[in-house]
């Protein structure tokens, strides 16, 4: 059924925030086409009467007490940051911020 176009791959890659080179887009379009064709068969047995399962085990109501635990030291928090300033993470300009 599926024919995943280059445009579709490009759209989804943008949604997933991954820059792809043109050759990657070409290759992925072909590969995904085959893969999606193959996995689309789940629909053969996924009839409306079958409920969906998202958890392997039926657990409910797992709660934590509202009691504070020590925070990570700021130095540890920022040690791995690509860039930091004044105790905060420095990130490139965010579009739409005022």
């Amino acid at each position: 059924m599926s024919t995943i176009s280059r445009d579709e791959v490009a759209r989804v890659a943008a949604l997933a925030r991954i820059d792809l080179r043109d050759d990657e887009v070409d290759r992925l379009a072909g590969e995904l086409d085959v893969i999606v064709d193959s996995i689309a068969r789940v629909r053969e047995v996924a009839t409306p009467d079958v409920p969906a399962t998202s958890h392997p085990l039926p657990l409910t109501n797992v709660f934590r007490e509202d009691v504070p635990q020590p925070a990570l030291p700021v130095a540890d928090v920022l040690a791995a940051a690509p860039d930091a300033q004044d105790g905060r993470f420095a990130v490139p300009q965010i579009l739409g911020e005022e």
Binding site: H55, D86, F89, A90, I94, E97, E98
Partner: protein
């Protein structure tokens, strides 16, 4: 008609707009819960901490970290749901709302999507003139807050000399409950008032429920205001805009007014309103279009696999219901009955923010009428004069209660009571102490009083004659001079008795 700096061509005058269009509002309110820890991790949350000092691997979205639901946050969400007359889900789940943004550490927000914890409720909202408007609640769901970005200007930029932002994740993961109304119809020209009163009513409820400090100025409560216009109440709903982060009661009202005027102008011109998010501008009360995000609508929600369903037992829900405090509206109705105020008096009390003060003053022993008289009279005058809220005056309900007791017992009169008030407000201590320190006690020993009366009678023999002749009219002049002589400390009623007795 005016133009704004935000590119909207023209506005229709509000009164004109609502004569010809029917506004429909929808409000989404986010409230930050006042739990000790975050929604999904045990990092402490409090206002004003140093940046990034309230984080764990979970709230930083570090690889490997996993969320665990804060049970108290669930309880608070149920409390809110019950207070808004909602049904509480037998089972509900969290979902992931996927979008990339630097203040969202995992690049998805854990939120409830198609399975909110509370749904199908309502809230009766009272306007200033006592009109009640019922707002239908669609849902209340749990989610987590994002971090905070601070934009840094280009000149100091370090990333290739460009502009950049600094991110603090202390707020990331703070528990939120989002309350979404159904379209609010039938408000007509009063739509802005209804919107404001609704948000205000929610704020009051959050405080009474003790689920949040609900301080608007700290962003504990944030509102997104949806508005659309239609030709008549019978017409289908029009295209709506969503004005984000409207963060004061007054702004809620202004945002609705502005959008009514703006959309009316667009419709008048035969154009169509664009469905979009808009920013509110505090300075001039206008709104402007937000950034158009190409993928903003494709959040790829799916059930959060790291969390299990929340299935509050009916016993738990009933237990929470049983411990709900009296809600603001019920309390107002009860106090109204108990105090016996006229409708208008009660409204004034509520609008002046004097309800708690009067209730506490009554608890301190004053009659409701006396308590009202103080707070809505002399104290309201002084608050207005000093431009402060009633509650911020340097006097407590207990002190007013004491003051009233002094009057009732006859130790001071009303006029002296004002001087006592001055003393209390000036920080001279409790009323009793002020009376003593300032020597304001009503003279109760008749001796000195009789001397003053005799002196007054001797000074005005003509009046004595008139009174003896059966004309009691001029007796006031005698009383006046006695009061003057005693610097107002005498009890006027007693003076009158003694004067008449003396004249015989």
């Amino acid at each position: 008609m005016t133009t704004t700096t935000h590119g909207t061509p023209a506005l229709v005058a509000y009164d004109d707009a609502v004569r010809r269009y029917d506004p429909v509002i929808g409000i989404e309110v986010h409230v930050e819960l006042g739990t000790r820890t975050k929604m999904f991790c045990p990092a402490e949350q409090s206002f004003g901490a140093e940046p990034n000092t309230q984080t764990t691997p979970v709230s930083l979205g570090l690889p490997g970290a996993l969320p665990v639901v804060n049970g108290t946050a669930v309880e608070y969400a149920i409390r809110i749901g019950l207070a808004l007359n909602c049904q509480i889900a037998e089972s509900c789940r969290f979902a992931r709302k996927n979008y990339f943004y630097p203040d969202v550490p995992k690049n998805f927000q854990t939120s409830q999507y198609d399975e909110p914890i509370a749904f199908e409720g309502w809230l009766d909202v009272e306007l200033e003139d006592g009109t009640v408007h019922r707002v239908e609640i669609e849902r209340a769901h749990m989610e987590e807050d994002a971090g905070k970005n601070t934009h840094v200007g280009g000149s100091a930029g370090r990333i290739h000399g460009a502009e950049y932002s600094l991110v603090d994740y202390n707020r990331a993961g703070v528990p939120l409950v989002e309350i979404v109304t159904k379209p609010i119809t039938g408000a007509g020209e009063r739509a802005p008032e209804v919107a404001r009163a609704y948000v205000q009513a929610l704020r009051d409820i959050f405080r009474v429920l003790d689920v949040s400090e609900a301080r608007m100025e700290r962003g504990n409560v944030r509102a997104d205001v949806n508005l659309s216009l239609r030709a008549t109440p019978e017409s289908p709903l029009g295209t709506r805009t969503e004005t984000k982060n409207v963060n004061s009661f007054r702004s809620v009202e202004r945002a609705v007014r502005y959008e009514v005027s703006r959309q009316a102008a667009i419709l008048d011109a035969g154009e169509t309103v664009i469905q979009e998010t808009r920013h509110f501008h505090e300075e001039d009360g206008s709104t402007s279009p937000g950034r158009v995000k190409s993928d903003a609508e494709d959040y790829r929600y799916f059930p959060e696999p790291d969390l299990v369903p929340v299935a509050p037992s009916r016993e738990w829900v009933e237990e929470i219901r049983a411990t709900l405090p009296e809600l603001p509206q019920a309390r107002r109705r009860r106090l109204h009955d108990e105090w016996g105020f006229a409708d208008a008096e009660m409204r004034d009390v509520v609008n002046a923010g004097a309800l708690d003060l009067i209730e506490a003053t009554v608890a301190a022993g004053a009659t409701p009428a006396a308590a009202r008289k103080w707070w809505m009279g002399e104290l309201a005058r002084r608050a207005k004069q000093d431009e402060v809220e009633l509650a911020d005056l340097a006097i407590t309900p207990a002190q007013i209660g004491e003051l009233q007791r002094l009057v009732d017992s006859g130790r001071i009169n009303d006029k002296i009571a004002r001087q006592v008030l001055d003393g209390v407000l000036a920080g001279e201590g409790d009323p009793e102490a002020v009376v003593v320190a300032r020597g304001l006690e009503v003279v109760s020993d008749d001796g000195p009083l009789l001397e003053a009366i005799d002196a007054a009678l001797a000074a005005q023999p003509d009046i004595v004659e008139k009174v003896r002749g059966g004309n009691q009219g001029p007796v006031g002049a005698i009383i006046g001079s006695v009061m003057k002589a005693t610097r107002g400390q005498a009890d006027a009623k007693r003076v009158r008795e003694l004067v008449l007795e003396r004249i015989g």
